[in-house]
């Protein structure tokens, strides 16, 4: 069982913020994409809604969906580990691209 991510404080911690513009918010399909991408990195990645305090494991769809993030809310990512910078960069880019759902429809 993946434990709740510990508070990250080390020098290798990378942070990124991005606003969700997808019309329905961070719903089921985008949550699948987000967690799959997060799982492709070795770094521990966590995320929260900017106005909330609780972090969740970005690799857990159960936790990510439960945030019920709506359009217009800002997400904060934090990653710690060798590929942390890449992880945050790619995850922010995925949200910015609206989870690749708008252009291809």
């Amino acid at each position: 069982m993946t434990p709740e991510p510990e508070r990250m404080a080390g020098p290798g911690v990378v942070e990124g913020r991005v606003q969700v513009n997808h019309p329905i918010g961070l719903h089921a399909r985008p949550s699948v994409k987000l967690t799959q991408l997060a799982k492709s990195f070795r770094a521990a990645v966590r995320l929260r809604a900017a106005e909330e305090e609780d972090w969740v494991d970005a690799k857990s769809i159960v936790r990510v969906m439960a945030l019920k993030v709506k359009v217009g809310q800002t997400l904060v990512f934090e990653a710690d580990g060798a590929d942390a910078a890449q992880a945050v960069h790619d995850l922010v880019a995925l949200v910015e691209r609206n989870f690749d759902e708008l252009a291809a429809e």
Partner: protein, 543 residues
């Protein structure tokens, strides 16, 4: 000798239209057997839960293999949940603390489900059904029940409290003619799946399930929104005739679906679709129509999430273009007001809303809202053959203002570095003043909204039975106005279409085509019938 049970009728909301006759087949949630199986050691309970989750995972993966893309997507999300260790973590902790697998699993899932049910967002609330589905599937596995409920009857009407998506998908629909849910939501996956498959579905049935009997004869009227249990002979006969007529018509008309509409004497008539809710497109083949002749963009504005933003609208318009696969898509800008109020947008307490600030009049008064729609439309127009029309135009100046605003929006978008294009801008012709002076309107195309035109020309409301005989689409004044618009279109080489209910009524077709009109737009359910009616029409010597 006992009397036959008397007819009982229950109201429900139509989530997927149709008609079905057959015995009721009850699939109500069995109250969880209190006599639980003997509880094993924590280790045995943990292994039981893990095995049940693995079995559920295997079954859903199997279903996903054979499902269409829309259903596959729902299953993909459920599978991702089952693969996430976080799903069962609280239950496993409770089992370690001495709980049974069943109790621990249900408690852990119920807590998550409650979290979704409490959401103020309709989308997230609807996801509770997907989790309930997972909860019950795994619980059934723990209880030793086989997941697939087999039906003892055929041609039955399935009655359940709710029907989770995976249950819908594994239900053998050859056994059922339709379904009734005592709960359910029109926004749910099940409603969408039922519409896509053409399975009649009523939701929110106003009945205590205990009054329904398994095996009882019933009528599912998903046209009028009723479930009738123990129908009287007369009722049954009436519905049998209706069903026979529907089937005969559907069979006869289906032949015409795949062919272009051509009159008996060889004149090609374009038949397009009216789209109220894009969800219906999932079940339609764009090859059967000549494009979308009318998109009522109100569907975007009636959600409980407030006015739609530019991205939401842009995505919806792109989806229409993508479905149409190169055929033209006509979107009508917001036609609020009249009988279609929108909270916070339409004026309140107008003495006569049909003669008030509706359609384009309202859009021009609310440029803040109108601009958002025009921006989304201009961006979509850069991606495909989009056409835009404005409703309730009365004076040429209104159309000119709309065009100027549209051009401004396109310039803004291009300056922002976004792709945008000014699409062909047409107008609805539904105000008699516009029809009479049609040559003074510089529109790229004209679309006759016959519902409002007939109502305004005859000064008779569509929904008032007392004046119903005056609301006559064949009133010579109406036909003359339609002919005037069609004639102007032909003379200036601009397309003229008709998109009201009149287009779908076979008996109006000959007079309509007689005016020179060659483009019709009808509801998806009327497409086959309209194409069939066109093929029976003869123009030579008529009109």
């Amino acid at each position: 000798m006992s009397l036959p049970p008397s007819e009982q009728s229950f109201a429900g909301s139509v989530a997927s239209p149709g008609l079905a006759l057959g015995p009721i087949c009850l699939h109500l949630t069995a109250t969880v057997a209190a006599a639980a199986a003997t509880q094993g050691t924590p280790d045995e309970e943990r292994r039981a839960l893990e095995a049940a989750i693995a079995a559920a995972h295997a079954r859903l993966a199997e279903l996903a293999e054979v499902s269409d893309p829309m259903a596959g997507e729902i299953l993909t999300v459920q599978i991702a949940f089952l693969e996430d260790p976080e799903l069962a973590a609280p239950a496993l902790a409770a089992i370690a603390g001495g709980d049974s697998a069943m109790a621990a699993w249900r408690a852990a899932m119920n807590e998550q489900i409650a979290g979704y049910q409490e959401s103020d967002n309709a989308y997230f609330r609807a996801r509770a059904a997907d989790l309930i589905d997972l909860r019950d599937r795994v619980a059934d596995g723990l209880g030793g029940k086989t997941a697939v409920a087999s039906s003892p009857q055929t041609d039955a009407i399935l009655v359940a409290e709710d029907l989770p998506p995976s249950r819908f998908l594994e239900t053998d629909w050859s056994c059922y003619r339709g379904a009734v849910l005592t709960q359910g939501s029109a926004a749910s996956h099940v409603a969408m799946l039922a519409r896509a498959r053409g399975i009649p579905l009523l939701i929110g049935l106003d009945a205590d399930p205990s009054v329904l009997s398994d095996g009882a004869a019933a009528v599912l009227d998903a046209e009028g929104g009723r479930l009738i249990q123990h129908p009287a002979t007369a009722t049954l006969d009436r519905y049998r005739q209706r069903l026979a007529r529907l089937r005969a018509d559907a069979t006869a008309n289906a032949v015409f679906l795949d062919k272009p509409a051509v009159t008996a004497d060889g004149t090609r008539v374009q038949v397009c679709l009216n789209v109220d809710d894009p969800a219906i497109l999932e079940s339609l083949d764009p090859g059967t129509c000549d494009g979308i002749g009318l998109t009522r963009s109100e569907f975007l504005f009636f959600a409980d999430t407030g006015l739609p933003d530019e991205e939401t609208q842009f995505q919806a318009y792109l989806r229409l273009l993508s479905w149409a696969d190169g055929k033209p898509v006509t979107v009508r800008t917001l036609d609020a007001g009249g009988d279609k109020p929108i909270a916070g947008l339409t004026p309140e307490r107008e003495a006569n809303p049909f003669l008030g600030q509706r359609g384009l009049r309202l859009s021009l008064a609310r440029p803040d809202v109108f601009r958002v729609q025009l921006r989304a439309l201009a961006r979509a127009a850069a991606r495909g053959p989009l056409k835009v029309m404005v409703p309730m135009v009365t004076a040429p100046a209104e159309l000119d203002r709309a065009r100027a605003l549209f051009q401004e929006v396109v310039d803004d978008l291009l300056a922002e570095g976004l792709e945008a294009r000014l699409p062909p801008l047409g107008m609805m012709v539904e105000v008699p003043a516009a029809a009479l002076a049609i040559a003074t309107f510089d529109a790229d195309f004209y679309s006759i909204g016959s519902n409002d035109l007939v109502q305004y020309v005859t000064a008779a409301s569509r929904d008032n039975a007392a004046v119903a005989d005056l609301y006559d689409p064949l009133n010579p004044a109406v036909i003359e106005l339609i002919g005037r618009v069609a004639g102007h279109g032909a003379a200036t080489d601009r397309e003229v279409s008709l998109c009201g209910d009149m287009a779908a009524e076979p008996k109006f077709l000959t007079p309509l085509l007689g005016t020179g009109l060659r483009v019709l737009s009808v509801a998806p359910a009327s497409l086959a019938q309209t194409k069939a009616a066109v093929s029976r029409c003869t123009l030579a010597g008529g009109g």
